[in-house]
């Protein structure tokens, strides 16, 4: 089956991104297809390159990157949510006159249309969110 996973919460303060990661790994192990992971709302912080985690803790951002590397997963960050929250690639940094960037490799900024398109093309859509 074709799955899309939606993440609404930031890592660190919320368990939802880690649950989403485990779910993605489990569905890939079962032979299903992961069409896309879509990061919305505070979920966009999952793609912040500048995150560093203590050695004995999971770095969710790096775990997403490793997953994308191994399985060619499409990691899409909602561009409108990302600009409001300050998660920028070099194109957006230029547009908003910032001289630094922080979007991690393997993540891409794109519009909400990518969420709706994923709903259309996937057999199952599952959201991992938190309070707020």
């Amino acid at each position: 089956m074709i799955f899309t996973v939606v993440v609404h919460a930031s890592p660190c303060q919320n368990a939802a991104p880690e649950s989403a990661l485990r779910f993605c790994k489990a569905l890939l192990s079962a032979g299903h297809t992961l069409h896309r992971v879509f990061f919305y709302r505070d979920g966009v912080f999952n793609g912040n390159q500048l995150i560093s985690s203590p050695p004995d803790e999971l770095n969710t951002m790096r775990a997403w990157q490793a997953l994308a590397e191994e399985h060619s997963i499409d990691l899409v960050i909602c561009i409108a949510a990302a600009i409001r929250r300050g998660v920028l690639d070099s194109t957006e940094a230029k547009r908003y006159e910032q001289n630094q960037t922080n979007l991690a490799e393997k993540f891409n900024l794109s519009g909400l249309g990518q969420l709706v398109e994923a709903c259309i093309l996937s057999d199952r859509v599952i959201t991992f969110g938190g309070q707020g």
Partner: protein, 121 residues
């Protein structure tokens, strides 16, 4: 081209305390652009999103009532409200900003059952 899906957008959150209400509307408008069949379902504190007379300029936020008014321009007419939640908050149907359909618990569970995709915000 796939047949349009029935996408249900569901929210239990009050407006302004979080961005949920606005984020829900943004998804709704995008669904409409992609010509999907989209319905909104407001439960619990979510019914408070539809109160009329909102004036959030005083807290420097966008007015949701204006955004809500644009839903019909996008042919989004299926707006469902948990009737028990209205009663719980003591809000009359006439105090809502949009024409809505009130649902009881059984109808809500059927609406969810009949949707192809449910997105929570």
């Amino acid at each position: 081209m796939n047949a349009p899906k029935n996408i249900l957008l569901m929210s239990r959150r009050a407006p302004y305390g979080s961005s949920a209400a606005r984020d829900l509307l943004d998804i709704a408008l995008t669904c409409s652009v992609f010509e999907q069949s989209v319905a909104l379902l407001l439960l619990d504190d979510g019914v408070l999103q539809l109160l009329t007379n909102q004036d959030p300029q005083v807290i420097q936020q966008k007015n949701l009532n204006s955004l809500q008014s644009s839903l019909s321009l996008y042919d989004i007419e299926q707006i469902y409200v948990d009737a028990d939640a209205l009663t719980h908050h003591g809000i009359r149907h006439s105090e809502l900003h949009l024409p809505v359909t009130l649902l009881n618990k059984v109808e809500i569970s059927q609406l969810i059952a009949n949707s192809d995709v449910v997105l929570t915000v």
